[in-house]
Symmetry: C2
Subunit: 341 residues, 2 copies
């Protein structure tokens, strides 16, 4: 089985964006917010948005199952306040849940959180609980910078974030560390902010002893770990100067990388440098890079092709495609086993 | 000849740091600043600080010449105001100039600028002129984020920066795009902020048409280009979606990468992905990562070993070691030719 651990609902019906625009405008004006119940999207619309997009490409590429979360760039936690984020997260998470019900063999949900800059992350717990207990979510996306490129929250190693971690450990779910849209003109969202956040999050883990406090906590760093595998020697050297244990021991029981790296040399580096047990298959399709690579004639984000061509043996490839995902996302494994898969 | 285009004076005599501490304290207190003339460092001290450190390692590793600039993390443009930065930059640049006079065969200077957050970069021109005309500097270090991790300046493509670019083009000097210490707790200076800035700067160039306005402008992105070569497919794909020309045409006449990547797989990726004409040898020795890699028994920052082992032919290696540096830094080439080198 091939599990794509990193898919977002980037193709939701336009009514979703229209509702969000009304919400944002109302917050700006101080006028009455639209109610969640005013957003009506039928099952047929949901089906169509998936069948003609993600599911079509999954079938073409031979991917079986996607861990599916709300569109990352639309989380936009910097907009509004906690109430705005809370309503918005509930709507987006419900849509992903509905997709997972419509296509139970192909999608399983992961939750966005109703984060808001300067607001205690503990406020996210009720939505997290609902998503796990009622919607069967197997993971969360945690935004280390709800300010959208101003980086005003404490590092992930700070106790600020511990309420989330405690709940994650209780539920045995991992977090993908994923920022949203940048509202800082310096940072292009998908070309700079995303990759910077990946590198930043890894380094926040490296300099701290977070995983001593939470030995069972698991983070997935998306986009192939940002700059980390390319600079693995730098990170090993920095850890050594800080008298930290070897990275394998210090971080790699808790930190995992996805394969959203959109060319063969990048995937070759990833699989050469990072232990295979820490690499999880993903494409973030349909996402930031949708075109066809003129050098290959295939989609940039068809990452399965790169994994097929990488120098890993069949047992290692199976870990990347399936076994690691089952281990890092135990609720995914349980859900699959519950269906005899 | 092997030219290291990225060295900082990280080993300056302690008196420099003591003077700086007095300056910073005085600014904080509102008391009288120390005068530049109160800092006295003799030639013997300078000689000793270089001979026992950078020059010793250059000889051990077989490096001939280093482009030498003030310590990047000490620039700390976020501290104080323009007057503070101005005095500090003048002192640091003078020291690098003196090192270049004491060891004219081994060091040639590059300048830091007296940047200050919110201050017009045009204010940096007098120091830039002095460093080029009086001190023989062959390049500048340009900090895209003088706020130290808060990213409050406009992107490098903004006209805000044009006065610097006009002077660079007039003098035919490149800029290394190099941030300084992070004062944002989210970003570890050398493990996150440096790499993020490299990626960010590249993306600012990619999304803009800066090099249409300045066809002769040249940027060197340090630390192997941050995350860029590892994600080269992503950047090619993003450029394609933005209807930009191929990156070779859009950016690679103006943007160059150094080899400060501290393990073999990273250098192998760099030389596989980036055209050899855009790769310049560098080590940033003695810098962020000073230890010995237990996997190799050699210093992490002994980047020459990785270039020696990379899959490039002798003519390509010569470009990386020397020819590209002479082309990207014409004043370096002229200075060498003036000595028959």
């Amino acid at each position: 089985m091939i599990i794509d651990i990193h898919g977002h609902y980037t193709t939701a019906p336009k009514a979703l964006e229209a509702w969000r625009n009304r919400q944002v405008a109302a917050f700006g004006d101080g006028t009455a917010m639209p109610r969640a119940s005013e957003l009506r999207i039928g099952d047929d619309e949901l089906r169509e948005s998936i069948e003609s997009n993600q599911l079509r490409l999954m079938r073409e590429r031979g991917l079986d199952l996607t861990i599916f979360s709300p569109r990352a760039s639309f989380m936009a936690h910097h907009i509004g306040d906690f109430a705005v984020s809370s309503t918005w997260a509930a709507i987006c998470n419900e849509l992903c849940f509905r997709v997972s019900r419509l296509f139970p063999d192909h999608f399983i949900p992961a939750a966005m959180l109703p984060q808001s800059p300067g607001v205690d992350p503990a406020t996210c717990i009720p939505e997290l609980v609902r998503c796990v207990e009622e919607y069967g979510n197997v993971a969360i996306n945690l935004n280390p910078d709800p300010s959208g490129g101003h980086w005003t929250s404490p590092p992930l190693s700070d106790r600020h974030w511990y309420p989330i971690y405690e709940k994650m450990v209780e539920y045995d779910i991992p977090a993908m560390i994923h920022v949203s849209t940048s509202c800082n003109a310096c940072f292009h969202t998908t070309g700079a902010h995303y990759l910077n956040a990946d590198t930043t999050a890894f380094m926040q883990c490296l300099t701290s002893d977070l995983f001593k406090d939470f030995p069972a906590l698991r983070f997935v760093i998306p986009h192939g770990g940002g700059a980390v595998p390319y600079h693995w020697g730098r990170f090993r050297g920095l850890a050594q100067e800080m008298k930290k244990p070897l990275l394998e021991e210090h971080l790699l029981r808790n930190v995992f990388f996805d394969t959203c790296v959109y060319h063969q040399p990048g995937i070759d580096l990833l699989t050469r440098v990072i232990p295979v047990d820490n690499i999880l298959f993903a494409s973030e399709m349909i996402g930031a890079v949708r075109g066809i690579d003129p050098q290959t004639g295939h989609h940039f984000d068809d990452t399965k092709r790169y994994i097929e061509a990488a120098h890993v043996d069949p047992a290692q490839r199976r870990k990347i495609y399936e076994d690691n995902a089952r281990r890092v996302y135990p609720r995914l494994d349980a859900a699959l086993k519950g269906k005899g898969r």
